[in-house]
Structure formats: C-alpha cells, structure tokens
Amino acid sequence: MPAPGPDGRFGEFGGRYVPESLVPACMELEGAFRDAWADPSFHAELDGILRDYGGRPTPLTECSRLSDRLGVRLLLKREDLAHTGSHKINNVIGQALLARRMGKRRLIAETGAGQHGVATATAAALFGMECVVYMGEVDTERQELNVFRMELLGTEVRPVRTGSRTLKDAVNEALRDWVASVEGTHYCIGSVMGPHPYPWMVREFQRVVGDEALDQCRAILDGGEPDWVVACVGGGSNAAGTFAGFVDTGAALVGVEAEGGAAITRGTPGVLHGMQSHLLQDEDGQISEAESISAGLDYPGIGPEHAHLAASGRARYERAQDAEVVSAFRLLAETEGIIPALESAHAIAWVVREAGRSIPEGSTVMVTLSGRGDKDVAQVRDLVGREGSAADGA
C-alpha cells in the first residue's frame, strides 16, 4: 500500500484536522518518522526489540480441526503470542523509540480494551518513561484487570467520565492532554487513526504482521498464497498491517467490524479525531455512540486508509454480531485450544458464518488473530453463564 500524499491523504480520506496548537507537533512527528524509517539503525533497533523482547516473529498456525469443520483451510497469524498479548506492542515499541528520538520523556495513550494501554505502559516501563493512559469509565469496569496491569507497570490510568465513557471519549481526553503538554509529551495513538502522519505511521509499524504472514503462508502453501485474508477492525491497525503484506497478492482482503461499530458499512463521511473518514453520526454531524461487547471495537470511526480501500474496492468490510462473536470465541477455544480476544473473534465469526457461502469450500483463509482472550474470560463467563458448549450449536 502506498504512502499517503503530502497532504496526508489516502484518496479523499485522512488529512490533519487538529487545533493549530498541535500542527507543529504533527509536523515534527512526520519529519521524525520519515527520518527514522529511512534509517537502517532505527530498523535494526526496532527489529531487535521486537525479536528479543516482543517475541517476534509470531507463528502461523494451521487449524486442522476447525478447518475440517468449516470446509476451508484456516491459518491463524498468532499476534496473541506477542508480548502483552496482542499486535498493539508492534506499534508502541516503534512510537516509543520515535518519542525517544524526539527527546520526549512522557507518553500518553487512549485505550479501549486496555490492550493498547497495557502495551504503552509496557514500553514506558521498558524505556523508563512517564506514562498516562486515558480509558473510558465503562471500559475501566469491563476491563478491570487491564487497569491493574497498567498500574503494575507504573502507569497512571485516568478514567474518562465524559460522553459515552468509551474509546472515543478517551481519544478526546488524550488530545486535550496533548494540547497542553505537547512540548515534552508524545501521544502514542493506538490505531491507524488520528491526524497525519499517524494512520500511515501506525500501518508501517504494524506491517510486520502482514510481511511475516505472507512469508509464512508461502512456506506452508509451497509458494502459494491464501485466497482470503481476514482481520477484525476497530480503528483498523491489525487489519492495515495485515493487508499491507497481502495487498499485492491475489487474496481477497476482508475487514470485519462489530455490528454496533460498523463505520464503513453503516457510517457516512465525516471528520473526527484529526481525520476525514467514515463515522457513525447523525444528520447534523453529531457523533453516535458505538455499541459492542468488545471494548476494542467500540469506536464510531475507522482509519482513513480503510475508508479508501473500501472506496477503491481493494478491500471489503463486513460485520459480525455480538452473539456469533461469543460463539466463535468458544468454538476456537474448544476446537483449537486458543482463546481469542473478543475483537479477534469477530474475524473468526465472519469466517465461521461465510465458510461454504461467500468463501467457497476448499479456499485457504488466513486470519489475523490480533490478541488473546484472557482479558475477556470474565466477561464471557458472565455473558454465557455455564450453559452448553459452542461446538454443540455450531
């Protein structure tokens, strides 16, 4: 996927819609990123940390039992096995190194499920930086353990009590902090969203997922490539990183949004959080509240490059409903011994539903499993009680 134009746009989407106070910081960051990304010593340091500390490369797992059941050949890119339990660490290590290069000693971040917050807190601990994470109050309640995890890592978690008290409000609050603190603070955005250069920079930091997966697919498939590549989409970083590896292959690219946060299929063009993209909003332009069991997909927008990929037709965007997500969560646990994050379970749910329908029988399907489900176990227990197994009904 190409870099955005000089104005930070992918087609008509993207841009830099921030208060004037933040424009110099966005420009500085863009310069620092361009410089670092062209610098082999930066790559060497980043790759070294991701390998020795982050656990990369993550494996590609062939799922035989679930494949048999679905009638398609299912491969999982195992970001759940990366340090801190999701793909978020890839981006955060990159941004923390950049912050250090720019001489900034304080990191701030927003978080939904808490995975990006945990990853940022981890990087702050690793590099000896100060860290504050903004998290909607609703999310601090449903992801209580992740709050404590961040605190263990030495981070201050600030619950956000405004608006819908979820991810979108946490972004607002982080931006408000940044306007006042920008001189010594780097805002470590957790997805391919926000003002230029973030959507592009975060995609580049996440492309390691897709680049590794392509090589691993070729190794397993005797030089062949998967027919389908599927990832869940909140802001869209694990999907963007995955797609970056496969965009030049013949694979169909599918992003799966939460039914209640489907910015592409149910949203309209708009401007929020520094970017022009697709948003859930009313006719006046007031932003709607997304609603999903998965805190990480509970966001009314989507990264601008996804809006562009949808418009150009190179990728398609589908939805998964809460109930089928919970079934998929249990199905993967029971058939493969892998408990996925609820976010990642959206991608699985779509494949389970469409295998043998829009995905022809016998296809090879590569799914990015963006994170592990430990954080979601208590929530799923409360949701399903202790009735029968998912495999019975699937």
Binding site: V18, P19, E20, S21, V23, N172, V179, V182, L272, G285
Partner: protein
C-alpha cells in the same frame, strides 16, 4: 453586519474589543443572555453551536455542550434563533468542522449569511485544511476567523494572519478552553507577536477569565474573548442580567485602560 469593519472602527476609536462566548442551548434563556450581553458592551458575540466531541474545550464548555445537546439543540435550530435575534452587534459562530463538513461548506456558509451571522471560528480546522472553507466563506461574505497558537512558528503565523478574516484569534495558552487562576505569560506574548504580522484586530482567547486578566491582556492585544468564565456562570444559574453584569464588569476594566 460586517465583522471586520465593525471591529476595526471600534479599535481605531481607541476601544478595546470584548467578545464574549455563549454556548447556544446551554440554558433555556440563552437568546436573552446574548441580547443582554450585547447591551452590556460586547463588540461581537461568539455563539457556540454544540458538538458531541468538543476536543478543544475544557470541562465547562464540554458540560454546556452536553446540556445543550440533551435539550435537543441542533445547528439549524441555533441558526433559526439567530436569524430573529437582532442583537445589534456582529455574531460569530464557533463550532467544530464536522458540523460544517456534514452540511457541506458552501451550504453552511450560505446559511450563515442568510441568518445574518458575520463570521465563523472552527478550532479544529487549521490553515492547511481550511482552503476550500475559507473560499466558501469569502464567497458568502462570512468572515473565516483563523487561530494562531503559541506553538505556531512565525512564518506560519504570518500565513495564518493573511488568510484570516474579521480578526485574528490568538490562542493565549497551550491548552484547552477553561478558567485559569492567572493570565499566562504566553497570552501577552501572543498579542505582541501577532501585532507585528497583521493590521487586523488581534484578539486573545482561551484562559482569560476575569476583568483583571482581560485588562492585562489588552495592554498588548486589541481585544479579548471570554468564554468559560461566562458559560460557567450561566450553567450555575446566572440570569441574563447576571451574565450582562459580568460582561459589564469586563467592559469597565477595559475602558479604564
């Protein structure tokens, strides 16, 4: 009423410009408050059209926006109210860009002109993204007021000043709107710096909360914008007359300079 000539004339008479800000819909009697504030010595009034995600705003204006939206305030409702207001001073709307984008820039600018609004401030639309909006506003005869921040480099500040219409909004402090116990040194510095770049009126806003602070900043600036301190009072139950008294006190402080 045209914004720039109105403000220039007042300034050239030696008057310091006072631009209070009111969030539309924050109280049921906000239109009365706007009229009373106009009579109390405002030179123009900023009318906030509430947005669901006001990221440049602190707790007071966030709260006002929330209350207004919960009371059913809409952009078109606000503009209809302004159409029949006739406060006797120019009105400038302040809102976030998505409201404009959604309506389309041309339709929004046209509608502002229709209801007699003189200018617009969009704090999340910076110079590099503002081109087509500024053209639409120019074409409709609406002044697009641009902001300069303390962090803006000189060369860029000059470019912003030359694209701004009506006045130049100098952000007084690195931060979001809200009351501050004392005036930031960056507020007076902003005024002095911008004066060097433009002959437009230079008004300083964000973090100016009391008559004393307004007078301090106007030692160097042509005028001040006072928002949170006023809206705070309105949310706490100030009557239109109370709001006017507060604005009157700022007027008095400015006139005694």
């Amino acid at each position: 009423m045209e914004l720039e000539p109105h403000l220039r004339q007042a300034r050239d008479r030696g008057r310091k410009l006072l631009i209070p800000y009111v969030t539309a819909g924050a109280t049921p009697d906000w239109p009365d408050a706007v009229r009373a504030i106009a009579d109390a010595g405002a030179d123009a009034i900023e009318i906030g059209i509430p947005f669901s995600d006001p990221m440049m705003d602190g707790p007071v204006i966030q709260q006002a926006s929330l209350v207004a939206l919960q009371a059913g305030t809409t952009p078109s409702g606000v503009l209809d109210t302004l159409a029949s207001m006739e406060p006797g001073v120019p009105l400038v709307v302040m809102t976030y860009y998505n409201i404009v984008f959604r309506a389309s820039e041309r339709r929004f600018a046209g509608r502002l002109a229709e209801v007699g609004v003189s200018g617009a401030i969009l704090p999340d639309l910076q110079l590099d993204e503002a081109g087509s909006w500024c053209e639409a506003a120019d074409a409709a005869g609406v002044a697009s007021v641009l902001l300069v921040a303390p962090s803006t480099p000189d060369e860029r500040a000059m470019a912003i000043c030359s694209r701004s219409r009506g006045f130049v909004y100098g952000v007084g402090v690195m931060g979001i709107t809200g009351e501050r116990a004392s005036l930031a040194t960056s507020a007076r510095q902003a005024a002095t710096r911008l004066r060097r770049f433009t002959d437009l009126p230079v008004c300083i806003g964000v973090g100016v909360s009391t008559p004393g602070q307004a007078a301090q900043v106007c030692a160097d600036a042509d005028g001040v914008i006072v928002g949170s301190a006023l809206v705070h009072r309105m949310l706490d139950g100030a009557t239109p007359q109370d709001a006017a008294d507060f604005v009157g006190a700022i007027r008095k402080a400015l006139d005694s300079l």
